[in-house]
């Protein structure tokens, strides 16, 4: 019984020996960690989901980043860049492992991307200790306030809600019912909303969180909302849940009875087509819409449509801006001589970013201070689209 163990163990030893000879360097004692810099392209890690439920967001972000690179001949700050893609996957584990690989194996100079807040929280330590800047282009937990190497070109999770709260308090004559996906982003969104909503004297009917992920049938929640006597509904959903929620909101007769307000993710991108006419009349708050009228946006929309055949989403726009931020920072950090540290310093010194969403500046915690827009889903030329109704002010 013992002798039979031999072959496997020999195989293990052989395999190990093989890999040993194939690899150089080591974590301990090797000491040959090279700093990126002089010569060769700058390595940029693009950490977005390419599998799992967030894949479509990842696709948008990848396309947005690539559009910027294509517009600039694959150069950022006058230096050629090499983009290394890593799959964030669905969970904090998979995202963390991918970030680990970018930083420790590919030895990238900067990283951008990150869809999930859980992944963002999970990689904070990694970027702070390895002193590599992460220019996030979506995930943005409210708790992330004191990082040195982490920047976000998107927003903070509670901002879409906060931008909308005061407006809804004013508009709605009666109480508002809250339904949100039961995870941190949902809680943050409702918390942000209620901050400005309560301050403006809004009245809350009830606040219910639906299991996430895993809720496909919203009927029981909608039934409760329906019988609560509320005048309006504020929701937070994205992706597949947003599609089901909007359709069922219509099917179970809430549409037309109870106004629906939501954070912009509800009707952003491909989900809107899937929701179909059920989405008509939904009001959302977002930091961007493809129909914004400015020159940069016009060229961005054109280039993005040419590349993907789709209208850009806020995810694509934020990723486009991340490339822009890196462009500015690498140039300021000295182009070819730029390294992680100098790029990070330069990012912080960027005074303003011209963006398809309008010009924005850094907040104290490394997120954009930007204008928020109220949008309504309308039918435009036979297709459904978010249409900007008015500005909601700056946050």
């Amino acid at each position: 019984m013992r002798a039979r163990r031999t072959p496997i163990l020999i195989a293990v030893a052989a395999a190990t020996a093989l890999t040993l000879s194939a690899c150089g360097g080591g974590t301990l004692g090797g000491g040959d960690e090279e700093e990126a810099g002089s010569g060769g392209p700058i390595k940029i890690g693009l950490l977005v989901p390419q599998s799992g439920v967030y894949k479509s967001l990842g696709d948008d972000m990848k396309a947005g980043f690539e559009v910027y690179l294509e517009e600039h001949d694959n150069m950022l700050g006058g230096v050629e860049v090499e983009v290394i893609l890593a799959d964030e996957g669905e969970t904090a584990d998979s995202g963390k492992a991918a970030a680990d690989k970018l930083v420790k194996q590919d030895e990238v100079t900067v990283v951008t991307g990150v869809v999930s807040s859980a992944v963002m929280n999970g990689v904070v330590d990694l970027f702070e200790t390895s002193k590599i800047p992460l220019v996030g282009s979506n995930a943005s937990p409210t708790t992330l306030t004191d990082a040195t190497y982490i920047w976000r070109t998107s927003y903070v999770n509670d901002q879409p809600g906060e931008a909308l709260g005061a407006y809804v308090a004013e508009q709605v004559d009666g109480s508002v019912y809250f339904l949100a996906a039961d995870y941190q982003a949902g809680l943050d969104e409702v918390t942000g909303f209620k901050r400005s909503f309560d301050a403006a004297g809004g009245e809350t009917a009830d606040e219910v969180y639906t299991p996430f992920p895993g809720t496909t049938n919203f009927q029981p929640f909608l039934a409760n909302a329906n019988s609560s006597g509320a005048e309006a509904l504020f929701s937070f959903y994205a992706g597949g849940a947003a599609v089901e929620f909007v359709k069922q909101y219509d099917q179970f007769g809430l549409k037309g009875q109870i106004d629906h307000y939501s954070a912009g993710f509800l009707t952003e991108g491909g989900v809107l087509d899937a929701q179909g006419e059920s989405a008509l009349g939904t009001f959302t708050a977002m930091n961007y819409n493809f129909d914004l009228e400015n020159e940069l946006n016009a060229s961005f929309v054109e280039a993005y449509e040419a590349k993907t055949g789709l209208k850009p989403t806020t995810y694509a726009m934020a990723s486009y801006d991340a490339a822009h931020v890196l462009d500015l920072a690498i140039e300021a950090a000295g182009g070819e001589d730029a390294d992680s540290e100098s790029i990070n310093t330069a990012i912080g010194e960027i005074e303003k970013v011209e963006s398809p969403r309008g010009t924005w500046t850094w907040s104290e915690i490394g997120t954009p201070v930007q204008t928020w827009y109220l949008r309504e889903v309308q039918e435009v030329d036979g297709t459904l689209a978010n249409v900007v109704i008015q500005e909601l002010g700056e946050l």
Binding site: T210, P220, F221, F252, V271, A274
Partner: protein
């Protein structure tokens, strides 16, 4: 009381629709396990394949739905046949190997479906005659779900009668009770395996075609549907058609009426209900073939 009833009427009706959908999924899983002792973790994949079929083929017309149903049936039969062929060499190796194999197959199939259909959830429109909502006792309710209750009730009744009354059903029940005995009677259990597997798979795929407007196809739906079916099957008792039906209806209510009553405990209701049942009756509510 009538106020309470009024407030939760829609939830109860919807629980029936949801439960019947679960039944079409669970019954195949239950029989394959009960009869052939095969734990098929690729069962959710069959639903997903059916739902994607509906998405791809239904165009709002009755004909579209009919074509989708026929194609879904074929997809299901083929899928079931392939799965049966895949697990056939594993006979006598226990549930764990079957679980690893079928889970592996479902991971591969899920990846293939993402390649074909993308990673978005793809809501599927019912025939336009059935879209929209109607008022039921003063409550707005989707027409399609009402129609689904009708069709699924018919389907459930057929399955139930086939298994409880027909001679094939008698053979199936005998196989659940004592496989070796049936084998010694000269019945080719391999044929039974393929037959039951194909039948269960076809039912799951047809459930997917009909269920697509209710649980839309998308990544991860296969796993969710699988877990729901497993819960139903375990609650009902492995290998029992009656158990699968009652388990499905019970879980349907738990997931609708239960959620409406205690929304803040929604994430715990499904597994809480299962734990409660298993704590009282570890063999399920209707375990067949045992005293």
């Amino acid at each position: 009381m009538s106020g309470w009833f009024n407030a939760h009427f829609v939830s109860m009706v919807d629980g029936v629709a949801y439960g019947l959908l679960l039944f079409t999924l669970a019954v195949g899983l239950s029989l394959v396990f009960g009869m052939m002792d095969v734990l098929n973790l690729a069962h959710g994949t069959l639903y997903l394949a059916g739902a994607y079929t509906a998405y791809a083929l239904s165009d709002g017309s009755w004909l579209g739905l009919l074509i989708a149903l026929v194609v879904g049936l074929v997809v299901g039969l083929l899928g079931g046949g392939l799965l049966a062929a895949a697990v056939a060499p594993l006979q006598g190796r226990g549930h764990l190997d079957q679980a690893a194999l079928t889970l592996g197959i479902s991971l591969i199939a899920a990846e293939v479906m993402v390649m074909l259909f993308g990673a978005e959830v793809l809501p599927t429109a019912p025939p336009s005659a059935l879209s929209g909502s109607v008022s039921v006792l003063g409550h707005t309710y989707p027409v399609y779900r009402l129609a689904f209750i009708g069709i699924a009730t018919l389907l459930a009744a057929l399955v139930y009668l086939a298994f409880e009354r027909s001679s094939v059903g008698a053979l199936v029940r005998a196989t659940v009770a004592d496989r070796d005995m049936v084998r010694t009677m000269g019945v080719d259990t391999r044929k039974v395996l393929f037959g039951v597997f194909g039948f269960g798979a076809a039912l799951a795929a047809v459930g997917g075609v009909l269920g697509a407007p209710i649980i839309a196809p998308g990544p991860g739906i296969d796993e969710r549907v699988l877990v729901l079916s497993l819960v139903v099957v375990v609650i009902g008792g492995l290998g029992s058609v009656r158990g699968a039906l009652l388990g499905a209806l019970l879980i349907g209510q738990v997931q609708t009426l239960g959620v409406a009553l205690v929304p803040s405990y929604a994430p715990f209701l499904l597994f809480g209900a299962m734990l409660l049942v298993l704590a009282l009756r570890p063999q399920g509510l209707f375990a067949p073939g045992r005293a």
